[in-house]
Amino acid sequence: MLDIVLNREIKINPTSSQLTTQDILGAWKARWGINRMNYKVEPGLYRLGNPDPNAPVLVTANYKMTFDALRKELTNFDAWILVLDTKGVNVWCAAGKGTFGTTELLNRLAVVQLDNVVSHKTLILPQLGASGVCAHDIQKFSGFKVVYGPVRAKDIKEFIQSGMKATDEMRTVTFSAYDRLVLTPIELVSTFRISLMIFGVLFLLNLIGIGPFGAVDFYAYVGAVIIGSVLTPVLLPWIPGRAFAWKGWFLGFIWVIVNLLMGWPSSEYSVLKALGYLLILPPVSAYLAMNFTGSSTYTSFSGVLKEMKIAIPAMIISIGLGAILILVNSFI
């Protein structure tokens, strides 16, 4: 019988539970959108602490922030970490796209020859990876049994030490005010480009003598942006209603009313212009708030679609009318 012995070298990378200043700085930069798409670690097998063949195998994504979040919870712990190639995307997103998926996991198991490294047949996957991975197919094709661990990395040690039992709390996705706050910088940064474009247009209108648009217009707009992309996400569960666009619109509306009471319409700001802003600014906040559905953990595709089908036409009409009022106001 032909006996082919594949003596490929098994490559194992060392890692530790200590984050360096550089790791922390990198995470901060990624939150603000700097170099985010390229924040990756090499896929493959990692050794954390001093694992023996019985040590648990934890599977994760190759987004560096995800990998760091996992290993920083594993102080004084020995484990193998199997990093899948998710193109630098976190587990949840990658599972949705299918890159944190059945095929990649099966391939990666073969590439690192995991069955030659460990003596058991259990893989611990983050629960949020489940939408990409089919556990019974992994078992069928590789022999490894998939156990879905807790949602959050901070519970992983407790999960393993309690004999792989997840409490209800470990299994539940939460979305605290802090969780939401750390996501807002990126929302804000992503509005910069479009905001600059709007300022450009207003500046041009000023130049050709339609206007003038000045400091008040500027802060009214910036206020609406901050309300939509920071305040609404942070205050989310406390704002009445369910749809995100509505929540953003509601706060944006309050913002305009407060401004009106604080001095609009002054001699410089006619009723027409004030009305125009009442039509324009709340939809701006609403639009940005609606975009936060992507960062939230509890919205469904069907829900967002339903919300958008009503919100988008309403926003377009409202902003259109408001723009007409303001232009008309500029001419009289």
Partner: protein, 96 residues
């Protein structure tokens, strides 16, 4: 504070006849949509479902069905503009 999103929109369906009560869906669902009752899984709160598809993918007996998708407005807009299936391009914390 509990979050609640739009009601009655999820496309989740269960064929109880096929369910063997293996419990996998309870294990993977991140929003406690299922409970086990008399040896079968039942949907207790469909409005909590985010259509992630985890239960469908991991049910060994094909008892569940959902149209999976991303609950992300930016992705849906991009899908409309480019005429493709919505998919998210972000790589942030809990994005999409």
């Amino acid at each position: 504070m509990k979050h609640s999103y739009l009601k009655n929109v999820s496309t989740l369906r269960m064929d109880s006849g096929k369910c063997t009560g293996c419990g996998m869906c309870l294990e993977v669902c991140p929003h406690h949509v299922f409970v086990m009752s008399k040896g079968k899984s039942i949907i207790v709160d469909k409005d909590r479902c985010i259509e992630c598809g985890a239960c469908v993918k991991n049910c060994p007996f094909k008892a569940l069905e959902v149209k999976p998708g991303v609950g992300c407005a930016a992705a849906i807009i991009k899908g409309w503009l480019t005429g493709t299936e919505p998919s998210c391009d972000c790589s942030d914390g809990s994005c999409c």
